[in-house]
Amino acid sequence: MNNRKAELKKQALAARDKQALYGPDMELGGYGMGNGEDKRLKNLSDIPSRLKEASLLAGFQAGEEQRSGSYLQQGENVLYDRVKDIYRNQIEVMQIEEALKKYEWLWDYWWKTVAVDTDKYTAWTELHHRGGYFMRIKRGQKVKMPIQACLLMSENAASQRVHNIVIAEEGSRAEIITGCSTSPKVDEGVHLGVSEFYIHKNAELSFTMVHNWGAAFHVRPRTGIVVDEGGSFISNYILLRPLESLQTNPRAVLRGRGARVRFNSIIHGREHSLIDIGSVIDLQAEESRGESVSRAAVSDEAIVTMRGLLRADTDKTRGHLSCSGLLLSRDAVVDALPQLSVSGAPGADLAHEAAIGPVDEESVQYLMSRGLEREEAESAIIQGFMKVGIEGLPEVLDQLVKNLGRQITESGRG
């Protein structure tokens, strides 16, 4: 074990300056590393009001009414990690460092879906990580209430470096709602987050992530997912507020027969945001199936790149990729880059579609002829656009998307 730890450190050091494959490069050295002191909250309701507001924006319930377990981290400090009593036999939620101490076997899940030397962001996370959550849904447990997690930033010009591991054991079913958010006055910062998901045989996990960063934030999530036989993973990602740059390209490996994955992304690119978001799905087992749906409304001078790669090396696999961009300003830049790849699998069936365009004027006029004002008509279409092809959004997200259509038209389309 110590050998492996040393080896990981060595690889991380070697990759400390390695540029990422996509997205703008950035200097990590200038951001604060924090004092590393944990000040736990006794009750989640003791959360300071400015943090509470920020967490609410990311779908976090400080009251925990509809949640089975919660994890809250501010900057480097883990404020809260707890499972409600009645769910103790079903799930575990705790700070990753503690989990690694508690379970020696967890090292077998550490850096197994994401390579530590992928780029400087994974390397920095390994070298300087503080916090992140460990979630475990126990064998056969169908968890009624979602587990929630929130990562907050409330200091300016700081960096957050977390490593999360989620294990859905055989036959389990759960929903996770996570949010990342900043306090109102925090504009600048860096968020690095490595997340590893293990979906074991016949387990089902739905993972929803809402991002609300400050206008000068750089965000580099690094995510890996493996799905075993009959397992299913759904990821819903939503980004609504402007930021400096976001680049992420999660990869799912479907390694068991009948495994499924679906990525849904809903993005509003605003102001000067530079967003590069994609997904990679490796279909490595028969009857496995992958889908990726991205919807980006792009205003102001935002630049959004949507990527997608479906890769099949096994027969009887199916995949579908869909990227759509809605142009809301003259200066918006949108790239859609769907990619399909098959090798040695003559029975693989992959497809993609991509479309970029403005709000359709004929549709707007049609709605106006039914009595809607122009703004109302546009808002309804934008709202609908975000959800085309995305079924079963959790309620929090549904509400956010509803507000979004309104927000876009009210703030002017730039």
Binding site: S369, G371, V388
Partner: protein, 245 residues
């Protein structure tokens, strides 16, 4: 209800409608016919304020108010509604969402469920609007929205095209209801209906008809007489018709 005075319309620099004048009194339903490309749909666009066209001159008066330059939604709110010949596909909205928006934009019709049933649209409500709708479904969805809107003046573009006989009956009844034609003495709802076939005349009392040829009104009169003439002599015959000379 509606009056057009010497309306001239151009599209992409080309004249489409010339010197159109007519009047639809309260409670009357008028019929517009004419060959393909004569400008019938464009005329409805001019009245509704939609389409990529420009009104060069003339006035459109609705209930005494000049609406020639009024935004489309204001015209709708004053009581004009359209059932389009070829409505757009709006994949962003389900029919249910659309109907809900129409209801909220208007007076909040209370009997939406009943109207959905009447128009046999129940199974379409969760479908994305007009995505893979059949010809009859497209028309029924138009009339459903129009019934929810319940306009004072209904502009209806080829209600029977692409519709089988059973569905023509459904749409005919909707028209009848829309124009409140069950009331004989106290009719206030008006209509302007474009039709090529005249089938729809079985379902309503039309007071007057116009033949539009090449962007101008070539003939007007009793709609049934006009249909008979056109059936015998065609629209070419219409140009030479003695009645109009």
């Amino acid at each position: 209800m509606l009056e057009l005075q010497n309306v001239n319309v151009i599209a992409e620099g080309k004249p489409i409608l010339t010197d159109i004048s007519f009047k639809i009194p309260d409670g009357e339903t008028h019929i517009l016919m004419g060959p393909n490309g004569s400008g019938k749909t464009t005329l409805l666009h001019a009245i509704m304020g939609t389409g990529n066209i420009e009104i060069k001159s003339g006035q459109i008066i609705f209930e005494g108010e000049d609406i020639t330059a009024l935004p489309t939604h204001e015209r709708a709110r004053r009581g004009i509604g359209v059932a389009a010949q070829r409505p757009p596909v709006i994949q962003e909205l389900t029919l249910a969402t659309l109907v809900d928006l129409v209801k909220k934009a208007g007076n909040g019709a209370k009997n939406v469920d009943e109207l959905v049933q009447t128009m046999n649209c129940g199974y379409l409500m969760d479908r994305r609007f007009n995505v893979n709708f059949s010809g009859g479904e497209v028309k029924r969805a138009e009339f459903l929205q129009l019934l929810v809107q319940d306009p004072k003046l209904a502009l209806i573009d080829e209600p029977e095209s692409g519709v089988d006989l059973d569905n023509i009956a459904v749409i005919g009844r909707a028209l009848h209801r829309l124009l409140k034609q069950e009331k004989v003495l106290d009719r206030h709802k008006s209509g302007l209906i474009i039709t090529h076939t005249g089938y729809i005349l079985e379902y309503l009392n039309a007071d007057r008809g116009y033949v539009l040829i090449d962007g101008h009104i070539a003939c007007s009169g009793n709609p049934r007489d006009l249909f008979e003439e056109v059936e015998i002599h065609g629209y070419e015959g219409c140009e030479q018709c003695i009645r109009c000379q």
